[in-house]
């Protein structure tokens, strides 16, 4: 493959996103059609690169001997690229129906395309500096998406998201500086690039790593830095579904993995107090997110709390700092992406068709929207971790990795199980209401509610099938993931 291919994958959506601003705001069909075409072509380019691209490093710009924009797709990067490239066009298709009656659609589609560019950049970044640049770009390009409804709640949410993200990247910046000061600016290497004697002793190095961990974890919604994610559920559903369940939050987790396994190195961090702190924080967030999801009655916010918990599953797996833990974390990245995007799509379909936002208003709606809620029910089972769905496979390997590590990890294993139980409560209560309403529910008000249209249903159904297939063929997928990260 020619070496300009990968930069093309990034520059094409960038240019196309900028060009979208030139289209008229009124013609929804044109905007939607263009965006769908652009994202589909980009995904095709990305998939071609994943399959035949190779691992050569491609330097874009060199600012200084130690600072260069470098693209390189190792197995981890290709995996994340694959997740993104699969989900993005599907979400655009969904938005084609969801955003139809909304205001400011031009900026929505334009920034949605720009965010795609940023996310690809994060996944394809070859060193920490590049990753940091695209990470910031991702923040900037997603703020307008939260702002899109232009209500006061949306403004507050966008402001909060922005401030949290900037604060977080500042921390991450410190961690990066520490690496640069050691001349460790090279491309990501499994096992880390921090070699030789570290200044200030290992304790200081671990402290700086912890700064970076916390900084990147802002996007991964680690407690107590998760508030922005809950508020951001005011954004339109395609944004909450793709960005706040997959692209943005998982970029955070991805960056943490890059920082830990590929920069500071597990040799330095494993079995240290810093690892223990990270594990405990993740384990706590797992229980915390699930508990709050049980208490939350706003449908989308409940799912957002569930995202908080599930992101910490991923962080927990990665912070075990074993190959098995990393593989399980990656598996859960893909599994949770699929599951959560479907459940958000369902919540969005309900919101779009009936204007209902609360779980208590779901009574009986499943019979009016059977396909939507069939998908939701499957995603609920998958999120609980029932075999043979994909959520089960990833959780099983997470538990196995935790058990293998022993020690503090057992606390995390306990947290995972408790959380599975709480997941069952908060997902199934919603599903139960939708299918089997309470007797005193007002079913007459449902008469005007209809099933969502095909642009919403197609992504949902496809991804639901994906959940089943990824579950049934869990073992080959795990092998592929293990091969990708070089095990």
């Amino acid at each position: 493959m020619p070496s300009f291919w990968l930069p093309l994958c990034i520059l094409f959506p960038l240019a196309a996103g900028a060009a979208l601003f030139a289209l008229p705001d009124r013609s929804f069909r044109l905007l939607f059609g263009t965006t769908l075409a652009v994202t589909t072509v980009t995904s095709a380019l990305v998939w071609a690169w994943i399959l035949w691209g190779g691992e050569a490093a491609i330097a874009l710009i060199r600012f200084a001997p130690e600072l260069e924009l470098l693209l390189k797709t190792d197995g981890l990067g290709r995996f994340f690229l694959g997740v993104l490239a699969t989900l993005w066009p599907l979400t655009v298709l969904y938005a084609g129906s969801y955003m139809r009656d909304q205001q400011h659609v031009r900026s929505f589609f334009a920034f949605f395309t720009l965010a795609y560019c940023a996310a690809i950049g994060v996944a394809a970044a070859g060193n920490l500096f590049t990753l940091y640049c695209f990470y910031e770009f991702l923040t900037l390009s997603t703020v307008p998406l939260i702002l899109q409804p232009m209500t006061s709640a949306a403004r507050k949410a966008a402001r909060e998201y922005f401030l949290y993200s900037i604060g977080g990247s500042a921390f991450a910046f410190v961690a990066m500086l520490y690496l640069l000061a050691h001349g460790a600016s090279g491309p990501f290497t499994p096992g880390g690039i921090l070699r030789g004697e570290v200044f200030g002793g290992e304790g200081i190095a671990r402290l700086f790593w912890l700064f970076g961990f916390l900084g990147f974890s802002v996007k991964a919604a680690l407690f107590p830095l998760h508030r922005w994610l809950i508020k951001a559920s005011v954004a339109p559903t395609p944004v909450t579904a793709l960005l706040h369940a997959v692209a943005v939050v998982k970029s955070g987790a991805f960056a943490v993995i890059r920082l830990t396994q590929y920069c500071y190195g597990t040799e330095l961090l494993a079995d240290s107090w810093a690892q223990t702190a990270a594990l405990l924080l993740a384990a706590f967030t797992v229980v915390y997110g699930s508990s709050l999801a049980v208490r939350e009655t706003h449908f989308k916010r409940r799912l957002a709390y569930s995202t908080v918990a599930n992101l910490s599953y991923i962080l927990f797996g990665a912070m075990l700092m074993t190959p098995a833990g990393l593989a399980a974390a990656l598996l859960h990245i893909a599994a949770h992406a699929c599951i959560k995007i479907v459940s958000f799509f369902c919540a969005g379909a309900v919101l779009h068709e009936s204007g209902r936002e609360s779980v208590f208003e779901l009574d009986g709606i499943g019979r009016r929207m059977p396909v939507t809620f069939a998908c939701f029910t499957v995603s609920a089972f998958a999120l609980m971790g029932l075999p043979p769905l994909n959520g089960f496979v990833s959780k099983w390997y997470l538990l196995a990795a935790a058990a293998e590590s022993g020690g503090v990890a057992w606390i995390g294993a306990g947290a995972l199980l408790l959380s599975a139980l709480l997941t069952a409560i908060y997902m199934l209560t919603a599903a139960r209401r939708a299918w089997f309403p309470d007797r005193d529910a007002n079913l007459a008000s449902l008469a005007a509610v209809h099933e969502a249209d095909w642009k919403m249903l197609v992504p949902m159904v496809l991804l639901t099938l994906g959940m089943l297939l990824c579950g049934v063929f869990g073992e080959p997928i795990l092998r592929a993931v293990q091969a990708a990260i070089g095990l």
Partner: protein, 745 residues
């Protein structure tokens, strides 16, 4: 063929709604045909040699199936019972709504249940077990009444929690032993060093399967779910689905903990409690199907006693193993007949309350004879099949006494006989109410109902019932032959000599039970559990309402206490700014604490119950003098304490607001002229005047400069009040330290 047993019914089930949307008759015919084909499959599997099949990589761990004697027999039982309930259901469901849903999930459940019994790997068993749980959930809520919804919620909760805990257990097994394959468990466990970990893992798996079986203390769903489910579904839930739970327990006991006396004792104790408690619950119940449901709990207890004995007896477990297998089979048959009879009653009267349905069975031989057969069978009367399995279990207890000596085991023997007696008593209660007594007002109407069920339903009922005496009378041929099938699966040793069922020794146990039952019926049921109202004796429910494990413990634990633990923390971080309203947050947290003690979050529901219980106790001894005031005093004391705590925090907050956190006061106006920016602007104005651009005295630059400065101050105040600003400051500080450290190098 093995896959066919699982996937054929599932596929057929998924097709039924499509047929059903065109023609209900065609759908019913298709469903009956599918059940028949399934029966044929099971028959073929029974005749063919043992087989196995494996689908590697499925859902991460792969699924594996196999057949052996026990599984083959049970697959046949399943197919038979399913066919009978389906035939009966054709009439029963003719006036129901949502029958397409029922038919579809009926067959999917059949496939899943076949899967459980075919599984040669615990993991495979659990996959099908979970599918079965979720599809049968819709049976329980089929009528969608409030009671049904509540019972279904309980059922779902037990299924989900049980499933997840079992999954945890499997995970631990996989971790410690490296396998969940049933045939390998024993060797792996024998090689394992860490016995305690195995008990934990086994306990988790037992929790999951025991919950489905109805084992104490997880039996709560049974007495609620069965009365509200449609009768054919109740028959399946009680007769077969509970057996899938027993299957799991059997795997644990026959393989993982084979001949482990500690495990055997635990199962034995749980079984004994289940057996006695279920029987007592059934005795007190005044609802036909609820009685049968509690009876299921009790009979599962009998089976578990057998399972426990198998482990206690080690190599000489032949009697216990045979008793267990035969009692499982018997119970499936009895409950099939009994629930279908109850269904026939409900189909006509839409009532299940004993006072409302009494006398309905008079002059209805097609109802009376099957019910009588099943009642005699479950009561353990000689010549009926229940007698055989109970005698075997009793023999096994006697054998265990011989091995371990008397003591607790002879207590167990009496519990066993007593539970048998209670069984006789409650079945007599049902029989007398249905077939001997007369309804005070509607008897003529009842007697007039000649067409109380159609031919197909009657066939299903009578054909099933006939098996009971047939098996019982040819026990030494038919039942012993069936028991032989279990040898491989149960790992039972050789039988020393054929059991002679009709010797005095063996008859004695049955007769003692029957005597106890008769005494209980006349001495307890007809005196304590009945009351004379308006000259008519009616059945009353004497079981205390508050004595309900679910309401007392499980619901508060899951819905309030567990998610409630983290709630104060959540509220602490509920808002995003930290500095100014920190005190307010502490206040709120302490408010939560106060609410915890003062009002109701955790302690009050509990204490209310204690209070209620103690109130009951006090009421027995006369007036409530001591406990009530004591409790009030305690509550008041904590209330005062909490208030004092929060009040003192109020004071602290006020103090902070006056000092460190006081609002910044606006700048006084007379400071304007002394501010540097104003002076700078003044100078600029002067220059402008000198250059002739402005008139003197307008002060344009001075005003603008001052406004700018004010704006900057307001903005910076907003920014400094922000958490992210705090973070940024921290980062800058850290960076400064860092740069300093680097320079030092």
């Amino acid at each position: 063929m093995l896959y066919g047993l699982i996937f054929f019914p599932m596929a057929a089930g998924l097709l039924l709604p499509l047929i059903g949307s065109r023609s209900l008759r065609a759908r019913n015919a298709a469903m009956a045909a599918a059940c028949l084909i399934n029966l044929a499959f099971s028959g073929i599997v029974l005749l063919r040699p043992d087989a196995s099949a494996r689908l590697a990589g499925f859902a991460g761990l792969g699924i594996a199936l196999e057949t052996d004697g026990f599984r083959k027999v049970y697959l046949l039982v399943i197919a038979f019972v399913w066919l009978m309930t389906t035939l009966f259901g054709l009439e029963y469901f003719s006036h129901y709504r949502h029958t397409n849903r029922y038919c579809c999930l009926n067959l999917v459940t059949l496939g899943a249940l076949n899967g459980v019994f075919l599984a040669s790997d615990l993991f495979t068993a659990l996959i099908f077990f979970e599918i079965m749980s979720f599809t049968s959930y819709t049976w329980v809520l089929h009528e969608e009444t409030p009671d049904a919804l509540k019972a279904a919620n309980t059922y779902l909760a037990v299924a989900v929690i049980g499933g997840l805990v079992a999954l945890m257990g499997l995970f631990l097994l996989q971790h410690h032993l490296g396998t969940t394959e049933i045939a390998k468990l024993y060797e792996a466990a024998a090689a394992s060093q860490n016995r305690a970990a195995l008990y934990v893992a086994g306990g988790c798996v037992l929790f999951g399967f025991g919950a489905k079986a109805g084992m104490f203390p997880l039996h709560i769903w049974l007495p609620k779910a069965h009365p509200v489910a449609p009768a054919p579904a109740s028959a399946l839930l009680s007769g077969l689905l509970t057996k899938s739970g027993v299957f799991g327990v059997l795997v644990l006991s026959c393989e993982l903990f084979r001949s482990d006396p500690a495990w055997g004792t635990a199962i034995l104790l749980l079984g004994a409690v289940t057996m006695l408690l279920g029987a007592l619950l059934a005795l007190f119940s005044v609802d036909l199907k609820r009685t049968l449901a509690c009876s299921s709990v009790s009979q599962i207890g009998f089976i578990l006693v057998g399972v426990g004995l198998m482990d206690l007896l080690g190599a000489e477990n032949a009697l216990a193993a045979r008793g267990t297998l035969l009692h499982m089979l018997n119970h499936s048959l009895f409950k099939l007949v009994l629930f279908l009879s109850a269904g026939a009653v409900y189909m006509n009267l839409h009532a299940l309350d004993l006072n409302g349905i009494r006398g309905f069975g008079r002059k209805k031989p097609l109802l009376l004879i099957p019910f009588l057969f099943a009642a005699l069978g479950i009561g353990g009367f000689p010549l009926f099949s229940g007698y055989v399995s109970k005698t075997l279990l009793h023999e096994a207890i006697v054998e265990a006494i011989g091995m371990y000596g008397a003591g607790l085991l002879s207590a167990l023997e009496w519990v066993f006989l007593f539970s048998g007696g209670v069984t006789v008593a409650y079945m007599t209660k049902l029989f007398v109410a249905l077939f001997l007594e007369k309804h005070p007002t509607r008897q003529a109407e009842f007697d007039g109902k000649k067409r109380y069920m159609n031919g197909l339903s009657a066939f299903a009922l009578c054909a099933s019932a006939l098996l009971i005496p047939l098996l019982g009378m040819s026990a030494s041929r038919s039942m012993d032959a069936i028991a032989e099938f279990g040898i491989g699966f149960f790992r039972s040793g050789p039988l020393e000599h054929a059991v002679r069922y009709f010797t005095w020794e063996n008859l004695k146990g049955g007769l003692i039970s029957i005597a106890i039952g008769v005494a209980l019926y006349f001495g307890f049921v007809r005196t304590v559990l009945m009351r004379r109202e308006n000259g008519v004796r009616v059945y009353v429910n004497r079981w205390p309402k508050w004595l309900d494990l679910e309401e007392l413990l499980y619901r508060p634990l899951l819905l309030r206490w567990l998610p409630g633990i983290l709630y104060p923390i959540a509220r602490l971080f509920g808002e995003n700014r930290v500095l100014t309203p920190l005190s307010e947050r502490i206040l709120r947290a302490s408010g939560a604490a106060a609410a915890m003690f003062g009002e109701n979050r955790v302690l009050t529901p509990l204490s209310e119950r204690i209070l209620r219980a103690s109130g009951d106790a006090a009421a027995m001894f006369g007036e409530n003098r001591v406990l009530g005031p004591l409790w009030d005093g305690t509550k008041r004391f904590f209330g005062v304490l909490a208030h004092a705590f929060s009040d003192s925090l109020d004071a602290l907050v006020l103090l902070l607001r006056k000092t460190a956190y006081r609002d910044l006061t606006p700048e006084p106006e007379d400071e304007v002229r002394s501010s540097p920016s104003y002076r700078l602007g003044k100078q600029l104005d002067r220059i402008a005047v000198n250059r002739g651009a402005e008139k003197a005295g307008e002060n344009r630059y001075a005003r603008e400069a001052y406004e700018k400065r004010r704006e900057i101050r307001i903005k910076s105040r907003r920014i400094t009040g922000n958490m992210s600003f705090a973070l940024l400051m921290l980062v800058i500080a850290v960076s400064a330290v860092f740069v300093y450290v680097l320079l030092l190098r």
